[in-house]
């Protein structure tokens, strides 16, 4: 699964996710990637987010909207909101991660797997590409 979340010069947020799903999948199985509010979500008041991992768990935890709702209703910062939501995914037994950017340009890349292919580039000049959990 691949995904991106972006913030433009006008302050608008957007997110997208694309996937092939799971090897050997049957029965027309669909995961969280095409589910708005689960694998993909964007709200200019909060953040834009894309998820990757065991889709069934990310659907059940409504990951994208949950992170946004924590920010909007509880005033949580992005980093903390994403961590709280991912904790819920872990509690259900799900593995994976999320990347997100908020309306101020703060980014987070969190996962409960050994690694995640990830990166960000910001107008502040910061740029990072990483793969492993210790990076």
């Amino acid at each position: 699964t691949v995904g991106c979340a972006a913030l433009d010069k006008r302050g608008n947020l957007a997110a997208g996710t694309s996937t092939g799903g799971m090897t050997n999948k049957k029965f027309g199985r669909v995961g969280d990637s095409p589910i708005i509010g689960a694998g993909t979500y964007a709200n200019n008041r909060t953040c834009a987010l894309s998820a990757t991992g065991h889709g069934e768990y990310f659907i059940r935890a409504v990951v994208g909207h949950d992170v946004s709702a924590r920010m909007e209703y509880q005033g949580m910062p992005l980093e903390k909101a994403a961590a709280a939501t991912l904790t819920n995914v872990s509690a259900l037994g799900g593995k994976g991660g999320v990347i997100a950017i908020d309306h101020d340009g703060k980014v987070t890349m969190q996962f409960n797997t050994p690694g995640m292919f990830r990166g960000f580039r910001l107008s502040t000049g910061e740029k990072k590409v990483a793969m492993f959990g210790d990076e």
């Binding site: 691949v2 991106c4 006008r10 997208g16 799971m22 050997n24 049957k26 708005i36 950017i101 793969m131």
Partner: protein, 193 residues
């Protein structure tokens, strides 16, 4: 002017340093960097966030390294079935596609569902018919299939057959499941929903 930027992922899994050769690590570094730069170029030139998202994801979909577009995993029938979605945070507009077999860049069709249809999600043949009406050129499913993904499917089927040869197995709680293989490693997994 607002600060701007983007963040990407290309899958989370058992990605361990010992499992990736220095050459493969360099390939991933280069491709992830290319995707970031493609999206950033859109933003830096004053483009919209939604277009930056599409630009970055298309780079990853076109790479056989990742489970999306070219290089996607195979389903039980030996076919790539692709899903994608996109959302615009300003208008709370969204588009999604599921079960595509012939659309080279699913993220582009998701955006078209959002911008050119009155719907949010289109699936399967209907989604591809919508694409044809928009003038999309469909690609054969073989375009997406790679030797690595074929090998992963073979292994999943071997594991499944060893478990009794059923087309559907059951997990410890008796729920119908199927055997699959992680994107970037080979431990067998029974996954369910």
């Amino acid at each position: 002017m607002h600060s701007y930027g983007l963040v990407i992922h290309a899958g989370a899994a058992a990605i361990l340093r010992k499992d990736l050769s220095p050459e493969l690590q360099a390939e991933h570094q280069a491709k992830l960097s290319e995707a970031l730069d493609a999206g950033y170029a859109v933003l830096d030139s004053g483009g919209e966030a939604i277009d930056a998202v599409v630009a970055a994801i298309r780079v990853l979909e076109d790479s056989p390294l990742y489970n999306a577009g070219k290089g996607a995993v195979l389903n039980a029938g030996g076919v790539c079935e692709l899903d994608a979605s996109i959302m615009d945070g300003k208008a709370q507009a969204a588009g999604a596609v599921a079960g595509l077999q012939h659309i080279k860049n699913p993220i582009t069709l998701a955006r078209d569902v959002m911008q050119k249809s009155a719907h949010v999600m289109l699936a399967g043949e209907g989604a591809e018919k919508f694409a044809r009406e928009l003038g999309y050129e469909l690609v054969p499913n073989e375009y997406f299939q790679t030797p690595l993904r074929k090998k992963q499917l073979e292994k999943a089927k071997e594991i499944e057959a060893a478990g009794g040869g059923h087309t559907a197995i059951r997990d410890a709680e008796g729920r119908i499941s199927f055997v699959t293989i992680d994107d970037h490693a080979d431990p067998e997994r029974h996954k369910w929903g």
